[in-house]
Each structure stands twice: as structure tokens, then as C-alpha cells.
């Protein structure tokens, strides 16, 4: 071919007929997407450049949304089970039959014993609506999946400083100079963290990754700390020890913005040991340096002391900071004394402490922006400490996770780096202290709603969810003495407890988007057994199961009634301020989904189904006086429901004229206004309100105007968490509400009001010489929720998951490429393929989360690698701790919050005969209710 005759290309082809702006749901990140439509089909999905979350970028999952939408695994119609549970044998039924079946089960229960319905929603982004429904129904048994995800991080953050990471806040990416990320592979947030890391790299800021596994973000970190799993708390407290020893803490910040000066009863004989000294109006007291007398902490002009001890009411009272300094200056927290357990050298710990101190205090940044604090004092500039942190599940999902997360929040506060330029910043609706959250409610009245919201933040023993006899009021045993602050519930215990009839038996288990018979449960094989076990009369032990999912997941096979959901491109949704919003540190924002494609089958948006079910059951708020449904569907609810007068699911474009921001009566054209605005609404925080949010008068007033709360609620950070001390007080025998004897010591040890580190429960429950290694999972960036395996494109990236074995273990056991191993825990044994990995803590093995699939699920071939070589680590993890010979069932969870302790797992390993090359255990094939996917795809040939 001659060069002069090169083909003439059309370099400006039509891309699409129309672009529709909606919100992604390929994971929990909630990015804005532009869906390009051609010939009525989805042609191309890209990030929305105007959107506050992703600003135009999109991850692999988001771009693969086309394959999710056109997946062969989509359910087609409502179904009832016709074979035995677990077999996957179903018959399609009409929606009318499905709804009437559900009503015939749920209506009698509500009349007699609403608690016999357990309604748990998994990866639910509509919890303010599903929770409202469950409250109206009257069952105390409702929660979403936070209990097996990251409740330790969330609860530790709320109790300590009014918020944690991800949806609560983020590093100040534009100003931070040193960023430490703990235990995060792909995790919330998905794209914003990658964008932030990119910004830090551009600016030359340093990134330190603390993670046993050097993947993803840790691969690009400037320094990797390959810590031993479960020891992050020790590591953080050693850094705090070094900082205190050198006096490198922000005293001014601590005095102004934290409870460091609060006086604490230090008299172990006193019934109020551990509680704050309170004066008139019940306000905590501090010592005034000027007068030497205790005064209310918020008295104008007070100069609080952090040193002086006070004698009053026959007891000694000491400032929080004095207790804190004494505790962490103790030699047990010295770098040398923790280095071995952490697998991090003492020099590294000391150097990182020095770097943090250097950047925080020697590289202080200031923004010339005057602001006024809650006491009316004017400040002429904003002073920043440019160190920031991020952590999620890696440090959370341990039985010592709550206190470890507390320690990390405390470190940020001691450095004075929270809500200042360059540090960590809250995203509205946060910051929000415990006082702004409800306490949990559990009072059941047959035929009537529950007495209040299910989930909340207990202030003390009086807020526990206990029956009159002291037993658990909730099926998951959340908010009991076993784990008092289980703010997100304990979904991972529901099936196990319901099967055991502990604390009681239930009738109907109703679940949404939760793959409990597979990757979302500990002890997956055991759970499958529990779901299929029958009692003496031949009935299933868990009598009825209703399940809603859009896809043919493993859990579908275990349900009696299937309510098929739509895909995320076919539905209305709201990412609501009442729920888990998408706000940025500089703005309040919320967003919608809307049907950019109409369903081509007999499926319905689950939330619309729930609203109709509520109307058929006559639930308050869902029926009018004449008995007609209040809401036509979920979209109608989104637009017209008011939680408080003028405050509804969507904050933008409120009022009849659509100009209301946060407040205003319902707008009949609100959803259209969101669509016209690109699928979201955003309102920026004024510059004088941008930092110091908990104490900034301008921010507090702005938040009230926007309806985030109804009156200003400035508060102080809680280095010392008094509600924890209240539980310890009860454990010492004081107060009317008393723990059972067997839990007194447990409460005293675990509910410490200043964070401590304890070894993970599993380390003390098993012989660590017999089980010498740690076993973890990470989420792959390209597929971090379990719905990706039916995705033709994503499964070519992660179609099978080997066990990655550290170079040290690989060599010690003589493994070779292509080998298989038996991996054994105290609970189970799996046979899996192994691969060597050197960028890994020497005593750790790990695999990708939720890649292994059951044969027959997800419309995959039963010979698919997901179902043959793929495997779940879940089989090795029990939902219970080993029996302690006391007859009790001890949950394998954090003792404070009940968070599932996935990452405590200890294992041993040995070489295995590969045999037929199929991982063990191998569950029998379940029949696919949707058939199997096509052989070949060549998508888009008709969309040019």
C-alpha cells in the first residue's frame, strides 16, 4: 500500500443517540455516570465529569456495567420454590401471587408476633427507607450488612469524633503532605481514593501504606509497612507513645476541641469511677488554670488545665489527658516492645512517628480565611496540620477492631489534624456526634410499629436491646452485653441464631441483596446446612425465606419465594442525606437513579415492591385513611415522603418552585429536576465554614439551614468515651441494669474508655504454634462486590482466585509453581491452588474475596473456573468462637460492636495432591433458574 493512499477514516462518527445521567451501582462508591444510548440499548458508560464523587473517571466495574445489565444471570420473573431448598428448582409465578404469598405469611405474624419476621438487607443503599418499613411493620429484627463490613470503623469514629472515613469524611487531598493508608485494598471509596492518590503523586506528597499485602494502593505507596494482621492497634499506640514522649501533640487543639481537660473520677472504690465530674446542668467539668477551680467545660473565658488533679465528693478526679499520657507513655507501648509482634522494626515505628510530627508541626499550613468558633471567638486564619489517614475493613474486621479504629482516630486528634487544612475533613451530613444519633429501639407491640428506629448509638446500659428477662431482644443479639455498641446490627449472626433458636425462633427470614449462603457468611457450608435443616416435624427449622435479588446468586436457591429486582439502570433510587450520602468535604450533595432503560422482563424495583407490600399489609405511613396506598411506587415515595416537615429523601430542588435547598415542601417535579441537572444535586459550603466544622459557627448555621439538623450542635471530640465507662461501671456492679455474671470481666476488659490493644480472640483461642499463619482476603479493584462473576468482561480479569502464599512459607513447605495446598483452621479445611508472592507479610496467606462461585449459580457453566479452582476462605471461618465449656455460643465478633472478625483467622498449610484440580469443599451443582449464558458475545456490532 502506498502511503498516499492511506484509508480515509470517519474520525467523527456519531457516538450515541442520547446521553442519560444516572448513578452507578457496580459497587458502593456511587459515581455519576453518562449512559450513552443507541437504538434503545446501552452503548457506552463513562464517568460524569460534573459529578462530585468521580469527576468523570470510572473504574473497571463501572465501565463493565453494560455486561451487568445484559447479564444472562438476571432473574426473569417472581418464583416459588418447588424442589427442596438449595436445589434451585423453581416455578415462575405472577407478581399478584408473589405479593399475596408474602402478605399471607407476613400479615398474621405482624398481628401476633412481629419479631418473628427478620428483615435484613445486604448491600442496600436505601436503608432509611427499608428501616422505616421495618419500623412500621414492628419487628425489632432489622439491619443492613454493616455488622459484617466495617461497623468498627464507623462506630469508633462516631463515638470518638462524630464520623469516620469514606462516607463520613476524606483526606484533604489538595493540601495533605503525608498520607497513611491502613489495611485498604480496593474498598470504599473506590474511585475517590485513586483520584486522591493521583493528586498526591502529582504534588509529591508522601504515601505510607500499612498492610500485610503490597497490592493496589500499597504498590504505589512510597513506603510499605507489611504489618502482621491484627496488630495495627499496637503499632498506632507505639506511634502515640513516641509522640507523647517528645511532646509532639497539638495541645492548643486538644484544649479547645477535645475532652482532654474533662475531669474523670479516678477512685476505683467510687461507684462513679471512670465517669466525668459533672456540675449544674449535668455539664462535664474542667479545671480552670486561672482560678484552680472546676467549671463547666463550655464556660466562656475558661482556660482548661490538662495537668491538675482535683479532689471532690470524696474522690480524686484527673483530666482525661493526664490519664491518656500516663497510659500511653507506659513502656509497654514503646516501639521496642511492640516491634516483634507487629513485624515492624522499632526504628521504622520511631521514624514514622518523627515524620508525622515533622509534617504536622514543622510544615504547618495556613489559609487566610477568617472564621468564628462556637464560643463566638474570631480567628483570622485557618491553621492546618497536613497529615492525613485512611482505613477501612483491614483494621476493622478484627475482634480488636473497635479499639484499633479508636486508636487511629485518637492519633489524628493528638496531631490536631482532624477538620483542619491538610488533614481529615468531614463530609456533610457529618460531623455528627453520638448525641445527634438515636439510641436503638426494640419494643415490640403486636399490630403496631416499633417504638423507634432500630439502630443507633447506645449511651449506656439503659439503651441495650434486652428483653425483660435480660435475654437478647433482637435475633442477631445486637446491643446486648456481648457486644453493646453494635450500631449496624449483626447480620452475620441472624441465620446461625435463628437456626439455634437462640434467643428465640423466627418464622420468616426476609433478605435483600445478601449472598448469605455463600460469600457473605462465615461458615458458608454450615449456613447452607442451617438453611436446609428440618425439625422433628419435617418442617424447615427456619420456616420461610423470602429473598430479593436481581441475579441468580447462590442465595436464590435457598429461598422459598423470590422477588426479582431490576438492574441499576432500570430503577429509581435516591442516594439520600437521610441515609449514606455522597457529599464532599466542601459540599452537600445527593443523587438519584432513574430508569435509563425499561425492564424487558417481569421484574420490579425491590423498594417499589416493599412499598406495595407495606400498603397491602396496611402499615402506617404507607396507606391513606381510606385504605388506598400512599405511594404509587418508590419514585413517588422519593419525591413525596417527608421524614420531618420539609425534609425528605432528596434535599435538592425542594418546594413547589424547586428552589428549596435541604428544606421545603415536596416538589412534584423533583426527580425531573435531578435528571435535568445530571442526576445529582450539590450545594457548596461557604469558605468560612469549610474547616473546623464541629466548632465553626458558620458551618453549624449553614447545616441547620440545609436541614442537616434542626439546631446548631457544636461538640468536642471524645478522646475518652464515657459511654464505654458506663458499661464498665455496670460490670463493677453499679446501676440497675446489670450484665450477666459471665460477662462482667469481658466488659471490663473490652470496654475501656481509652483505647487499648488486645490480641485478636482467635490468637488466644487456638494454639498459634499449630496454626502459625494469618489468612486474609482482599477485594479486587476490578470486582469488589460479589456480583461481578456473571460479568463476561470482569470475569476475564478475575475468573479464579489462587491462594497467595508468602515467599517464606512457600519455600519452607517446598511448594512449587502449580501446586495445591490443604489449608486448615480450627473450623474447617480447604484445598486450593497456591501461588508464591513475596510482597507479603512473611506469615500471611491471602486470596481475592468472593471470586469462588457455586456450580450452577450466576448462569455460569458448572465447569467455570470460579466453580472449579475458585474457592472461598469463608469455609475456614466460624461465626462462633470455640466453646468455652460454659454452654454459651460466643460470637466470633468484636466484643464492643459485634463486627464479624473475618481477619482474625489463623491457619496451617500443607502440600496437597492436586487430584482433579477442583478446590475443596465443592458444593453440589445448584439448578440454574435462568439457564446458562450464551457461548459467544460480540457486543456492540449493531450499535455503530
Amino acid at each position: 500500500m502506498s502511503l498516499s493512499s492511506q484509508p480515509q477514516l470517519d474520525t467523527s462518527p456519531d457516538v450515541s443517540d442520547e446521553i442519560r445521567h444516572t448513578t452507578c451501582y457496580m459497587c458502593a462508591c456511587r459515581c455519576g455516570i453518562n449512559v450513552h444510548m443507541k437504538n434503545g440499548k446501552v452503548k457506552y458508560i463513562e464517568g460524569n465529569k460534573d459529578h462530585p464523587v468521580n469527576k468523570g473517571v470510572l473504574c473497571a466495574k463501572g465501565s463493565a456495567g453494560i455486561m451487568q445489565h445484559y447479564s444472562p444471570a438476571r432473574l426473569k420473573a417472581p418464583m416459588k420454590r418447588v424442589g427442596p431448598r438449595g436445589s434451585g428448582q423453581f416455578e415462575e409465578i405472577s407478581w399478584e401471587e408473589a405479593m399475596e404469598t408474602a402478605v399471607s405469611w407476613l400479615a398474621p405474624l405482624r398481628k401476633e408476633a412481629p419479631e418473628k419476621l427478620a428483615f435484613f438487607t445486604g448491600r442496600d443503599q436505601s436503608q432509611s427507607m427499608t428501616g422505616w418499613w421495618a419500623q412500621a411493620y414492628g419487628t425489632p429484627n432489622y439491619a443492613a450488612h454493616g455488622g459484617f463490613c466495617s461497623v468498627n470503623m464507623a462506630a469508633a469514629g462516631i463515638y470518638t469524633m462524630g464520623g469516620a472515613f469514606w462516607e463520613f469524611g476524606a483526606p484533604d487531598w489538595e493540601h495533605t503532605r503525608l498520607f497513611m493508608i491502613f489495611g485498604v485494598a480496593e474498598d470504599h471509596d473506590s474511585n475517590p481514593i485513586k483520584m486522591g492518590i493521583g493528586r498526591l503523586k502529582e504534588r509529591g506528597a508522601k504515601i505510607i501504606g500499612v498492610n500485610p499485602i503490597r497490592s493496589g494502593y500499597n504498590a504505589v505507596a512510597d513506603e510499605w509497612v507489611g504489618i502482621t494482621p491484627g496488630t495495627d492497634g499496637l503499632f498506632i499506640l507505639a506511634i502515640i507513645h513516641e509522640l507523647l514522649k517528645a511532646g509532639k501533640v497539638d495541645l492548643d487543639y486538644l484544649v479547645r476541641y477535645t475532652n482532654a481537660p474533662f475531669l474523670v473520677n479516678d477512685d476505683p472504690e467510687s461507684k462513679d469511677y471512670g465517669l466525668f465530674l459533672r456540675g449544674r446542668n449535668n455539664k462535664p467539668q474542667v479545671m480552670d488554670r486561672k482560678t484552680g477551680k472546676p467549671v463547666a467545660f463550655d464556660r466562656k473565658g475558661v482556660t482548661p488545665d490538662l495537668v491538675k488533679t482535683h479532689k471532690a465528693k470524696g474522690s480524686t478526679w484527673r483530666p482525661v489527658f493526664q490519664l491518656l499520657a500516663e497510659k500511653y507513655l507506659s513502656e509497654e507501648n514503646a516501639a521496642e516492645n511492640v516491634a516483634g509482634r507487629c513485624g515492624v522494626s522499632a526504628d521504622t515505628i520511631r521514624r514514622i512517628a518523627a515524620e508525622l510530627a515533622h509534617v504536622a508541626f514543622e510544615e504547618e499550613i495556613t489559609i487566610d480565611q477568617p472564621w468564628t468558633d462556637w464560643k463566638g471567638q474570631k480567628h483570622d486564619k485557618m491553621i492546618g496540620r497536613p497529615v492525613s489517614f485512611h482505613a477501612m475493613r483491614g483494621i476493622s474486621a478484627h475482634s480488636n477492631g473497635f479499639q484499633t479504629c479508636r486508636a487511629l482516630h485518637m492519633l489524628q486528634i493528638l496531631l490536631g489534624s482532624v477538620e483542619v487544612p491538610g488533614g481529615f475533613r468531614f463530609k456533610p451530613t457529618y460531623p455528627k456526634p453520638v448525641e445527634a444519633h438515636p439510641a436503638p429501639h426494640c419494643k415490640v407491640t403486636p399490630g403496631a410499629p416499633l417504638d423507634g428506629p432500630h439502630l443507633g448509638y447506645p449511651r449506656g446500659p439503659e439503651d441495650l436491646c434486652l428483653a425483660e428477662d435480660g435475654s437478647a431482644a433482637r435475633i442477631d443479639k445486637a446491643f446486648t452485653w456481648d457486644n453493646p455498641l453494635s450500631a449496624h446490627g449483626m447480620m452475620h449472626m441472624v441465620i446461625s441464631n435463628a437456626h439455634a433458636g437462640d434467643p428465640y425462633k423466627i418464622d420468616t427470614l426476609f433478605m435483600y441483596m445478601a449472598n448469605m449462603s455463600w460469600n457473605s457468611s462465615m461458615n458458608s457450608a454450615g449456613v447452607m446446612q442451617m438453611l436446609t435443616d428440618r425439625d422433628e416435624s419435617g418442617e424447615y427449622v427456619i420456616p420461610r425465606i423470602i429473598y430479593s435479588d436481581a441475579y441468580s446468586s447462590e442465595m436464590v436457591a435457598y429461598a422459598d419465594l423470590i422477588l426479582p429486582d431490576t438492574t441499576y439502570l432500570e430503577r429509581h433510587d435516591c442516594i439520600s442525606l437521610l441515609d449514606r450520602p455522597i457529599c464532599e468535604a466542601d459540599a452537600v450533595a445527593d443523587s438519584i437513579r432513574w430508569p435509563v432503560v425499561e425492564p424487558d422482563r417481569d421484574v420490579r424495583c425491590f423498594q417499589s415492591v416493599l412499598i406495595e407490600l407495606g400498603a397491602r399489609l396496611g402499615l402506617p405511613g404507607m396507606v391513606n385513611e381510606d385504605g388506598s396506598p400512599t405511594y404509587k411506587d418508590y419514585a413517588d415515595y422519593i419525591q413525596n415522603h417527608e421524614r420531618r416537615p420539609g425534609v425528605g429523601p432528596l434535599a435538592g430542588f425542594r418546594g413547589k418552585d424547586g428552589t428549596g435547598k435541604g428544606r421545603g415542601e415536596p416538589n412534584p417535579n423533583q426527580i425531573q429536576a435531578y435528571i435535568d441537572n445530571g442526576g445529582f444535586w450539590i450545594d457548596h459550603i461557604p469558605p468560612e465554614a469549610a474547616y473546623y466544622k464541629p466548632w465553626n459557627a458558620a458551618y453549624q448555621d449553614w447545616a441547620v439551614e440545609r436541614g442537616l439538623y434542626d439546631k446548631p450542635q457544636p461538640y468536642l471530640f471524645q478522646l475518652y468515651v464515657e459511654p464505654l465507662a458506663r458499661f464498665q461501671r455496670a460490670a463493677r456492679g453499679h446501676g440497675d441494669i446489670q450484665p450477666p455474671e459471665h460477662l462482667r470481666q469481658h466488659i471490663l476488659e473490652n470496654m475501656e474508655p481509652l483505647p487499648s490493644w488486645r490480641p485478636p480472640f482467635e490468637d488466644t483461642a487456638v494454639d498459634t504454634e499449630e496454626y502459625p499463619f494469618h489468612a486474609l482476603t482482599q477485594r479486587p479493584a476490578a470486582m469488589y462486590h460479589s456480583w461481578g462473576s456473571q460479568n463476561a468482561w470482569l470475569r476475564q480479569i478475575h475468573g479464579a482466585n489462587p491462594l497467595y502464599v508468602s515467599g517464606e512459607i512457600f519455600a519452607r513447605y517446598g511448594f512449587k509453581d502449580g501446586d495445591w495446598a490443604w489449608v486448615t483452621s480450627r473450623h474447617g479445611r480447604i484445598k486450593v491452588p497456591v501461588v508464591r508472592m513475596d510482597a507479603l507479610n512473611a506469615n500471611t496467606v491471602w486470596t481475592w474475596n468472593a471470586i469462588g462461585k457455586r456450580a450452577g449459580a450466576w448462569a455460569l457453566d458448572e465447569k467455570a473456573p470460579e466453580a472449579t479452582r475458585g474457592f472461598l476462605l469463608n469455609h475456614l471461618i466460624s461465626e462462633l468462637l470455640p466453646p468455652k465449656k460454659d454452654g454459651m455460643r460466643w460470637s466470633n465478633s468484636d466484643p464492643v460492636t459485634g463486627q464479624a472478625a473475618w481477619f482474625d483467622l489463623r491457619v496451617k498449610i500443607e502440600r496437597a495432591d492436586p487430584g482433579n484440580g477442583v478446590s475443596q469443599p465443592h458444593a453440589p451443582t445448584q439448578k440454574s433458574p435462568v439457564g446458562q449464558g450464551p457461548d459467544t458475545i460480540a457486543y456492540g456490532g449493531d450499535l455503530k
Binding site: 457516538v15 480496593e186 500499597n218 514522649k245 517528645a246 518523627a354 456492540g940
Partner: protein, 251 residues
């Protein structure tokens, strides 16, 4: 045998930052979804839901470990697509003239009408950057989104390859390497952009920006502060309280 232009007006290509790439595969899938419904035949997936799925991808991310003795190992994510070589062996080997390098911008393309699927070009490419589509029997490769970068139907700011627009970490940069002042030329100069496998003498246009040294691997802590360890002011809790009392006087 197909001729290469002796020079091209522009040298469009990518600068890929290996210091920033977190290996998330966003570029891989965004490339797939754009290109399956745009230039040429769709990118098929054979046995898409079966035991051995084989799909066509124009861009893939490989992950490597790097380990030196007595040093912690590193993980490197390495995205790989056609490098649009100036001396592209895939072009000169093509028996039908289907493979060609555009004179105006240097993009290496396959004219699918003339491709007979012989696969010689894939053999000739030292980078393994071309993939034969199993369904269409046609050779597929990165087009640098030639149907995006000049496309007047999309906003000007979006006229970049799909992989560049989507990259969450901002690790991919698109521009003209013939212009020494372009974003990619400057980045490459500042960061010591690497010509992949230069010994092959294919003169690739794309550049890889190498990872910066890691503090834990170099072993020197990479610390640039005067005193690498904090000076202890207070060895005991009592001493600490004395210090604290004085410090409080100052605030």
C-alpha cells in the same frame, strides 16, 4: 510488505505513569466498551460464561513482583497496549497492507477490510500488543481511539482515548511526542520516560514513567527531615506532666 512513513507530522501516544498506576483495570474495561461498539469489528468474548473465556482486549494490565536480595519485594502494575512504534515491525510484515501507520499522527491501525487474519503482525510485535479476534478472524489493536480524539460529536475536553479519560488515578496521559512542549513530552523529560525494550529498535512512541524509589526498598528511609528520630522530652509520666504544665502556659 507494507511501507512505513519516514516521518509523521505528529507522534500521538501515551505516557503511562508506573509510579501512579494502582492496577485497577479501569483502562482495560473502558477500552473494551468503547472499542467493541466503535472502530471495526466488535471485540468478542468466546466461551464468555464458560470454562475458558477468551476475549479480545486492546489493553491489558500485567502485575509483576520485583525482589532484590535482602530487600522487601515490590509490586508493579504494568498496563500494556500498542506503543505505536515508529519502526513498527507489525506494519512492515503485513502481506496485504492492512496494517499501516498514519502519516498525519503516527497511529498504527489495521484496515479491517484488508485484513485476512494471518496473524503475522502479532508474531512480529515484540510487545504482544495485538490480539486476533476469535469471532471475526480479524487482527485487533489499540487505535488510540482515533474515533474519539478528533470526534466533533463529543466535547473537546473528552477528545482523548477512552483509557485516559477514565483512569481514576490519572496515570495515563495522551499527547503529541513530536512537540517538545506537549504535556507528554514534558512529563517524559521530567520523569525520565522509558522507551520499552529499546533494544528491539522499534522506536515506540509511548513512554513509561518509571516508579519512584520506595523508602522501604532503598532502605534509607528516604527521610528528608533534619532529625529522623524524635527527641524524648519526658521519659516518665511525671516528667511529662511537668513539661505539659510549662507548655500549657505558652498557649
Amino acid at each position: 510488505m507494507t511501507n512505513l512513513p519516514s516521518a509523521t507530522e505528529k507522534k500521538l501516544g501515551l505516557a503511562i505513569d508506573l509510579d501512579t498506576c494502582v492496577g485497577c483495570h479501569a483502562c482495560v474495561i473502558s477500552c473494551k466498551e468503547w472499542n467493541t461498539s466503535n472502530y471495526g469489528a466488535p471485540l468478542s468474548d468466546v466461551d464468555a460464561y464458560g470454562a475458558s473465556p477468551v476475549g479480545t482486549f486492546l489493553n491489558r494490565v500485567h502485575t509483576f513482583e520485583i525482589k532484590a536480595d535482602n530487600r522487601p519485594a515490590q509490586t508493579l502494575h504494568f498496563p500494556k497496549s500498542c506503543l505505536h512504534c515508529e519502526d513498527a515491525p507489525c506494519v512492515t510484515v503485513c502481506p496485504t497492507g492492512a496494517s499501516y501507520k498514519r502519516t498525519q499522527d503516527g497511529i498504527v491501525l489495521v484496515n479491517e477490510d484488508d485484513c485476512m487474519g494471518c496473524g503475522l503482525c502479532a508474531w512480529a510485535c515484540p510487545y504482544g500488543a495485538r490480539e486476533m479476534d476469535a469471532e471475526a478472524g480479524i487482527m485487533k489493536k489499540c487505535t488510540l481511539c482515533v474515533d474519539r480524539i478528533y470526534n466533533e460529536n463529543i466535547p473537546e475536553e473528552d477528545r482523548v482515548p477512552s483509557c485516559v479519560r477514565t483512569c481514576p488515578a490519572g496515570a495515563r496521559h495522551f499527547g503529541d511526542f513530536a512537540d517538545p512542549d506537549s504535556n507528554v513530552s514534558r512529563l517524559s523529560a521530567e520523569r525520565g520516560g522509558v522507551e520499552l525494550m529499546a533494544a528491539q529498535k522499534t522506536r515506540p512512541v509511548n513512554r513509561y514513567l518509571p516508579p519512584r524509589p520506595k523508602a522501604d526498598v532503598t532502605g534509607d528511609g528516604q527521610i528528608d527531615i533534619p532529625n529522623p528520630f524524635l527527641e524524648a522530652k519526658n521519659q516518665t509520666a511525671k516528667g511529662f506532666l511537668g513539661w505539659l504544665d510549662k507548655a500549657l502556659e505558652k498557649i
